[in-house]
């Protein structure tokens, strides 16, 4: 173990370690890891390669310093901007496994690089499956909140159609806040028919639960976790991001509710 450590210290420069850590770190951050998790994963890798590190995570990027205690010339501080936030929890699992593999000395630097690239390219679930899942979960939430099967069916339709619409809007490279406004407007239009025509028993539940798939649950919860662990700048940035998404959902719903007539609600 010790032999391995000294060998890799000679081979790998601080610059390379910093680059790897930044690559993995910003990707973790954008996929929905809280700052404490990014810190643990990065530290594990840096320590195996014989370096010490410290970093300043913000939601939009990471600043990292990597240095060698014995060689003061071999040190670097770099910054990298995070890619657009898109929650994908499988990334957390895979980068965590990769970091353990590195810490146990099972992977060399070059292989780890290749593996990281492979993790980055990993696709999300197909959009139709996500739309179906979103519909089912919103329908179930509606039933849990006390809706009848008709309410649940309308929540299912609204959520699925809205989710597909959001996928195509994002595919055209539009701003993600815009995509949320449009998706929530479409969902509310479909779910609002329940109130207008009085189809179900509890039309209020249909409206309240059908837009829940847009709720930024991961940034919201992560912001509180970061707050509790003391990463204040990351926490503020995350809560701001989550708050703006929530207000975008509200804007979309308001548009539709105005269109359908506020007095009907």
């Amino acid at each position: 173990m010790m032999e391995n450590k000294t060998k890799s210290t000679k081979q790998i420069k601080a610059n390379e370690v910093a680059e790897f850590i930044l690559d993995a770190g910003v990707f973790l951050m954008a996929s929905g890891a809280h700052s404490g998790r990014v810190w643990r994963n990065c530290k594990r890798m840096a320590e195996h390669w014989g370096y010490r590190m410290n970093f300043n995570p913000t939601f939009t990027g990471i600043m990292v310093s990597v240095w060698d205690d014995k060689d003061s010339e071999n040190a670097v501080t770099r910054y990298k901007t995070a890619p657009q936030n898109s929650v994908h929890l499988e990334t957390l699992t895979q980068i965590s496994h990769l970091s353990w593999k590195i810490a146990d000395g099972e992977t060399e630097y070059d292989d780890a690089r290749l593996e990281l690239e492979a993790i980055k390219k990993k696709a999300h679930y197909p959009f139709w499956l996500v739309a179906l899942a979103v519909g089912i979960s919103c329908g179930c939430l509606c039933t849990l909140a006390g809706g009848s099967p008709v309410d649940a069916a309308l929540a299912f339709c609204g959520a699925s159609v809205g989710s597909v619409a959001r996928y195509f809007i994002l595919g055209k490279q539009f701003n993600q806040f815009l995509s949320i406004i449009i998706a929530s407007a479409i969902t509310t239009l479909i779910a609002g028919t329940d109130t207008i025509f009085g189809l179900g028993r509890a039309p209020e539940m249909t409206l309240a639960t059908s837009v829940l798939y847009l709720i930024p649950g991961v940034p919201l919860i992560n912001s509180v976790i970061d707050l509790l662990e003391g990463y204040f700048s990351a926490s503020i940035a995350r809560s701001l991001f989550a708050a703006s998404i929530v207000s975008c959902i509200a804007v979309g719903m308001i548009l539709s509710i105005m269109l359908l007539g506020i007095n009907n609600f």
Partner: protein, 170 residues
Amino acid sequence: MELLSAILIDFALAFCVAFCWGILFGTPWKALLMTGLLGGFGHGIRFILLQSDFGLIASTLIASVSIGLVGIYAAHKVHNPPVVITMPACITMIPGLYAYRSMLAGIKLSDQAILEKEPNIIPTIAHNAVLTFSLLFTLAVGISISALLFRNKSVKEIRFIKNRLKLKGK
């Protein structure tokens, strides 16, 4: 008997919600089943506590903390970090209804005629907004409970430390 079937229905619905939410968040395929079970378990606890008049916030707190604690063990079983399965499981208790009510009351606030008809609209907003935020906070506490209790340690180190030492000794 009726209560038991109500609990079972609640469990089944929450299982579906957590499972599907796992797909939305991109939880690995192998961990999805565990996510669903955990979500159903947490929501079931919350349902039982609500039935025995525990109060909404207290029962949500207890449910999310038990998801967080059981999640640590469950995560070992499926070889994933705990957050990956506890996050979608806790989302089953997201306070969507209260957020919606406070938003709807907020829209109505802009209309003079409605305001005169329903003078209680500001207490409605405040009540629902406070409920929303406190419920969100309890969910976050439940998920971060592992990080809070086992400070600065990876969950993998807590239980597997012996096995890892054995492996390294080989």
